[in-house]
Symmetry: C2
Subunit: 433 residues, 2 copies
Amino acid sequence: MSKQNLKPPRGTRDLYPEDQRFREWLFGHFREVAARFAFEEVDAPIVERASLFMRKAGEEIVDQLYHFELHGRHLALRPEMTPSIARMVMARAGGLRMPLRWFTVTQNWRYERMTRGRKREHYQWNMDIYGEPSVTAEAELIAAVTTLVDRVGLERDHVKIRVNSRSLLEASLRAGVLRDRPEVFEPLCVVIDKIEKIGADKVTDMLVDPAGAVQLDAASARDVVAMLEVKNLEDAVAAAPADSSAGSDLLRLWSLLSAYGIEDRVVFDASVVRGLAYYTGIVFEAFDTRGALRSICGGGRYDRLTETLGGPSIPAAGFGFGDVVIAELLADMNKLPELQHPVDDVVFAFDEAQRAAAIDVATRLRGAGHRVELVLGTPKLKRVITDADRDGVDTLWLVGPDEVERGVVKQRRLATGEESELPLDSFAVEPRG
Amino acid sequence: MSKQNLKPPRGTRDLYPEDQRFREWLFGHFREVAARFAFEEVDAPIVERASLFMRKAGEEIVDQLYHFELHGRHLALRPEMTPSIARMVMARAGGLRMPLRWFTVTQNWRYERMTRGRKREHYQWNMDIYGEPSVTAEAELIAAVTTLVDRVGLERDHVKIRVNSRSLLEASLRAGVLRDRPEVFEPLCVVIDKIEKIGADKVTDMLVDPAGAVQLDAASARDVVAMLEVKNLEDAVAAAPADSSAGSDLLRLWSLLSAYGIEDRVVFDASVVRGLAYYTGIVFEAFDTRGALRSICGGGRYDRLTETLGGPSIPAAGFGFGDVVIAELLADMNKLPELQHPVDDVVFAFDEAQRAAAIDVATRLRGAGHRVELVLGTPKLKRVITDADRDGVDTLWLVGPDEVERGVVKQRRLATGEESELPLDSFAVEPRG
């Protein structure tokens, strides 16, 4: 095998013990936050029918689909969880108690060009609420995001959440520049989602591009971009058509977030639309307040997705929170946890004649819940002690010929160096775990 | 979306909350057993270069590979973890402290014909030890399997472990029928692995098949099959060539298993070879003692895998333990756990005017570690109580107009029906978790 072939495929990761400890630490926080909000975990296959992900709005996520023909079927590695969740809800529609609160921690795939911090596979924590039409759902979701940010040790001002309403934007545009062409709203959102990355001028160019999906005239494009620059909630609400409920929903959301005590952690931003075509209402994204990283999570309301997929209309809202950007932010902020492989005891037979006695000691410790490394070969005692010290092991159990002959085992507490001899047959084990 | 398209692709599973709870319960046991044996978790990509899995021994697992060309690369969904683990070890060979003990809990894919209990994707718990040449490694692995069986609530006689030595078989065959053709040993193992499923006669036919990979004469094939029928360790050891260490390894393994207190849980069975080409020494499989199900786990020593892949020679042993057969066995034995969605508190605002107060109550409970369902809409109180009762919720918090006016919240303990009123601003929360 060539050196190149020892690596995982480009854009994917091997997780050695230290990487996996971090992942499990992070996933543990995802799961704990979800539990505190009484969400239930679900899962779906990583390989789905490709058609589940095919949409017509020019989204990056669809362009980047890992899809292939296999045994006569057109399959895809899921690029995101939302369509699979929608499929599962639809498959049991009527039999599920609403509102339902589901979460997932799953791997997703996107075939994208590799730049710093971009992977072709990443994990994502998703939380979704189905069956609740009011913004109480979005408020719970945003509160869960802030709870996670706090739990992983970031400071309150490291991360904020930008909030907007696609329906507010849609109402304004339908009353204005999109009056005769409401169908271009979704591709328009896909374009304006790029504004932070590529800037207002390039977005304007794309909106007027005669070969593009939107094809506005120049004045209309400038109007749209001007609309995105509003950073004040009251101004945006005042500018919206009076018959739209989007403004009152936004104001209500703000008062709910205030009840959660997190009003200071959200900012209104009319340019946030998220790059997925299916969002219909409130949209939000968490961001690094230094502006150095891509968005940490993104979500919103997607009330028409189940209908688009051919099912009943079910109101829904959710977010996806990746594992890559949060790890980068923790690293930048010097907040990565120090995680060691937890081993309570090391049991060492000096040579093979004491192997059975050592196995017996290890088995009894494990039976009491201890995490026990049984030394398998017969290395030098000095090496065993050095390794155990470095690993932060509590107790070393030494089973030598002399000990076995006298029917004892030597116990050494590594923190203090204190040694004692215990009867091999009947030493007391402190239970753990 | 058609009704058919609401289902996951054939051979895959959607995991609704009740399914996922079982999976997390089982994975929790996998991880806890691994922790007690001081194994460290690792992971690798689910999509690998297809070449990593290509071998020439006619194994089912290779025939059933999910592989495809994508962006000019030949990729595959991993059918098993062992080659990826070997790749990871090789990539850091020299930098890893040996012996290393790694485990994984990962999804694997095989494109196979669908019969009862067969899936195209399944999860597998793998435990592997690299760098330990002696059977102390196999003994630890077998002890871990029995520990898992005990932890999930099966009885000692529900599962036993068949053990054999491929090197014992190989030594006997090389001294006999394979004297001039040692290279057919691996394909021969792939054939005889099927003996329990298809019977001795069909195995004999396959061994003599002039179009097959082995092509023995009829007498040799009968000799091989007779050799597989030995069920007594001493007879097998006695029949092996005197210069083979395989017999003494087997005897040593038995004495180690006796030190673990699990000698009664293993049986010698000369027909066990496992269907993977890379095994070289001890092989074992756990089985349902009723004989109703496929094997529960399988493993063994594979000292030549890293060399086969072009790397240094590193002794290794491990097993894979799937999630499907153990679940079937637990169901058959009526040992499936009853797992409920754990919710400590339900907080209910009678109407929107009390929403902020209810959010405050929920946020404080969550801050103390409680798992709290905040009722999002304003259903009837009766329905809220019925749902909370069914879910086994501890405490219902009622926030009505009358309570808010008086600055209190009503707390109802659902087990006893006991109600009390607490000050809304300053009620004490019992910490949890």
